[in-house]
Subunit: 225 residues, 2 copies
DNA sequence: ACAAAAGTGTTATTCATACACCCATGC
DNA sequence: GCATGGGTGTATGAATAACACTTTTGT
């Protein structure tokens, strides 16, 4: 039943951090939508849909993100075009996939309806189509990019403590980092400036608040902007 | 005059090294094809064309590469999907672009006809569509990836001297490298094994020949293969 | 006082870089 | 012999990592 042209779709892997209510440890979560028709009816799938002919690709990713979560991403990047013949039953579909980071505080307040839920990437069920592969690849990119760029800030608000920034790295990279060395690494990177304020109310020494130096891009994408 | 669906195309940036006949310095070259119809008739463009509905994306990139140059790439990777509305006059076109590396010796023997030529990336003319941006981005990826992967081997034959391998790095990274340090870096990486043979006939000490350890991928692409 | 996390100091180790020098060949 | 690039040795400084220690708060 092949037709003349392949169908173009845009999907997005949206990452946010959530802390486990019992252990308090942050992990990576994604929103998914329930498929309300065949194929894969009932299964969870990445937010997305067919590309309208007048929409830019990134535009389309942004609007699907807004529609399903009510959120605006603090970081958005193209991931990959998945186009294997047979990856979807029926007509040929080529999906251009984006990945996005949203602020964790906002994500907690995000829309959750009958057909939208957040899942932990630690224990994903079987998703629709090849979406498990897509999420795995997006996670791999998130983890490798976390090591050499400054995307961690996209999970945080305007101001943050170094402990919070470290927590982001630990959640994504899945290993503890030495607080002392982490502090020095960040400080010497010059990407962060102290606000002069402190967080009080904790039962220990108040932590200094920092702000991200907005004149620096979160990641170097070369000639693309 | 927009139609219902965007048109899907696949193009490829094909890299090879050529040494300047006068200076003897290697630089990066790409093959381009002349457009024989509007839009941009007469301009040079990247090899590519519309995606046939039964072709896999990578498959399509491979066959365009074979058709225009008669070559098989030693490395092929998806670069990016370019889809900005208005990047091509007429119907909306989304191009999924691959980049490829071909062995330099073979490339010298590659097909060159009336409508195909090789251009130095050092002095590119104005290409059709947004292909200058695409080449710039591909070059950026090539250069950054050269620093942390082993793709340099894709430019070389089965056996090579460390001087040849170093020449590849120097050509792409556009700066001289210390032969002594380069040697140690490569040797400690364990990606290369001496064949036991030497290159004689030079007017200096014979250079040891090496072979790439085929059990290691040229680049780590994570969960994708 | 004590716990807990913020923040500083110190040292060992690995890695990058620069460069002096010896080796083996063709001429 | 000399020129040329192949190949080895070694010193220096920077980046990374491990961990002891001091500071400042709440209870």
């Amino acid at each position: 039943m092949s037709q003349q042209q392949a169908v173009l779709a845009v999907s997005t892997v949206i990452f946010s951090l959530r802390s486990d209510p019992t252990t308090g440890i942050s992990t990576v979560w994604i929103p998914v939508v329930r498929r309300i028709r065949e194929p894969h009816e009932g299964r969870w799938a990445l937010p997305g849909g067919p590309l309208r002919v007048d929409d830019d690709l990134e535009e389309a990713a942004r609007s699907h993100l807004l529609e399903t979560t009510g959120l605006t991403p603090k970081y958005l990047e193209q991931l990959y075009a998945f186009g294997k013949v047979g990856r979807s039953p029926g007509p040929r579909v080529v999906s251009i996939v984006y990945w996005a980071l949203v602020e964790s505080d906002e994500a907690a307040r995000a829309t959750v309806g009958e057909n939208v839920t957040w899942l932990s990437t630690d224990e994903l069920p079987e998703l629709a189509f090849d979406h498990n592969l897509i999420v795995d690849y997006a996670l791999w990119r998130l983890r490798t990019k976390m090591e050499y760029s400054r995307i961690a800030h996209a999970f945080l608000g305007d101001t943050f403590t170094l402990a919070q920034l470290r927590e982001v790295h630990e959640a994504v990279r899945q290993k503890p980092l030495d607080p002392a060395n982490f502090r020095r690494t960040i400080e010497s990177s010059k990407t962060v400036v102290p606000t002069g304020e402190f967080v009080t109310g904790t039962r220990h020494r108040p932590a200094r608040l920092y702000r991200y130096d907005g004149s620096i891009d979160l990641a170097d994408s070369g000639p693309l902007q």
